[in-house]
């Protein structure tokens, strides 16, 4: 790496708030969110797009923020876990994860909730098989998968 990295401007809307920053071109979106914007809800665990912990919405589509460059989201809209609740009122998916024990250690939870929300936005009443297919990209190393599935079913009833 050179001593003075090449930087580029990023103007992006995150959870409805506009931000602008100069970032090194190699900065990933997850690092940008966490270290430049202080939005630490999004987690990085595998760094290779497999685990789903860093899932965010990029212009309405669920992506891995560890495989996305920050400079790529210039002029885009991002939603992270911090933007899911409506003020103090939790999103039905968040409430369902609490009510159904949909998390244990919590490291995968922001990604699980982002993915579950993306699933319910395109399929409001998924079958158990559809939930498993869609959610297979979000790993839970506490292996609390059944409670996650229960949470998603419960959220579907509320939405």
């Amino acid at each position: 790496m050179t001593s003075t990295p090449i930087k580029q401007a990023v103007r992006v809307t995150v959870n409805g708030t506009p931000y602008s920053a100069e970032v090194p071109t190699y900065r990933t979106l997850v690092d940008f969110l966490r270290y430049d914007l202080g939005l630490t809800g999004t987690k990085e665990t595998c760094s290779v797009g497999v685990c789903g912990a860093c899932t965010v919405m990029l212009d309405g589509k669920m992506v891995s923020s560890c495989l996305t460059l920050a400079v790529r989201v210039n002029d885009a809209e991002i939603q992270t876990i911090e933007g899911v609740a409506n003020g103090d009122e939790l999103h039905p998916v968040q409430q369902a994860f609490i009510d159904n024990g949909g998390f244990q250690c919590g490291a995968c939870t922001p990604g699980q909730i982002m993915a579950a929300k993306a699933l319910l936005e395109e399929n409001s009443h998924p079958s158990e098989d559809e939930i498993k297919q869609f959610m297979m990209g979000n790993l839970c190393r506490c292996t609390g998968y059944y409670q996650i599935i229960d949470s998603i079913k419960a959220a579907a009833e509320q939405m």
Binding site: T25, Y26, V48, L69
Partner: protein, 286 residues
């Protein structure tokens, strides 16, 4: 990751011009799901990255004159969900639906996958047996490459450094042939396969009129088993015939040992999964 200049051209024309201008010092990024991994490991260290995310071209899916045209920047998720693809080439829609996870398919593009050319990817075996072609575009030319001439080695294709994949062309899948895509996944559903097999077939009066077989993950490129296809033409539809003929697969695969199986095991499983795929498309029970 090393330092690079990041370019976001607003058209394919501008993108290929930049690629030509940086002459070997640039890498093209579409979804980024594969290139980001190479960058993170410093396996590629370009001075310039040309991102195609703002390019409006090469994003359509349509059928004209019996050929399905899929733009190079169409995402793999869009292929999977496209009613046009599902109708014109159901095998292809299925193969793309089996790639990694929804989150990856949301970003990964058809052109990016073709250029990445990992032999363990899902679509190549289907593309081979559907007789697809790849359209590549540079600042000065455009050419079509038959899929049989596309993949050349591990992560290598016959694309030139100044070219971008702009379209995938697939003749409409024959509706009178049964099809399947099966993969052997000993670890997780989203993992690369130990072996994957795409097959199409039809039979008449107990004789095989045509079969096509493609294999993934068991050689430096996806393979088409043309020897097996020819040997089975006109043969009797029976388990014994398929079992004997499938042995030929062991001679054409060249797998490597990895956590998904030893080379010997993968060779054996290639034979088994090719036979199972043939049984499926020819309706032969165990």
């Amino acid at each position: 990751m090393n330092d690079f200049a990041f370019h976001a051209p607003g058209s394919m024309k501008e993108a290929v011009e930049l690629l030509s201008q940086y002459d070997g010092d640039a890498r093209v990024m579409s979804g980024g799901t594969a290139l980001m991994l190479l960058l993170k490991q410093s396996l590629v260290n370009p001075d310039h990255i040309i991102s195609l995310h703002r390019v409006p071209d090469a994003r359509s899916i349509e059928v004209t004159d019996g050929v399905l045209h899929i733009g190079g920047l169409v995402t793999q998720r869009e292929v999977e969900l496209s009613p046009v693809v599902q109708k014109a080439a159901p095998l292809l829609a299925n193969a793309y639906s089996r790639v990694a996870t929804v989150r990856i398919r949301n970003a990964a593009t058809v052109g990016g996958g073709l250029a990445q050319a990992d032999p363990a990817m899902d679509p190549p075996s289907s593309l081979l047996i559907l007789n697809a072609s790849v359209k590549v575009t540079s600042a000065t030319s455009e050419r079509m490459v038959p899929i049989a001439d596309w993949y050349s080695d591990y992560y290598e294709t016959t694309i030139n450094e100044d070219e971008i994949v702009t379209e995938l062309l697939v003749p409409i899948q024959p509706s009178d042939m049964a099809w399947t895509y099966i993969k052997y996944l000993p670890r997780t559903e989203d993992d690369y396969a130990t072996v994957s097999v795409a097959a199409m077939g039809k039979a008449e009066n107990g004789k095989i009129s045509e079969v096509r077989v493609g294999l993934g993950a068991v050689s430096s490129t996806a393979l088409r088993a043309t020897g097996l296809e020819n040997a089975l033409q006109g043969a009797e539809v029976s388990l014994d015939v398929l079992r004997d003929a499938s042995q030929a697969i062991a001679e054409i695969v060249d797998p490597t040992s990895d956590p998904r199986g030893s080379a010997d095991y993968k060779r054996d499983m290639s034979v088994v999964f090719a036979r199972r795929a043939l049984q499926k498309v020819l309706g032969v029970k165990d």
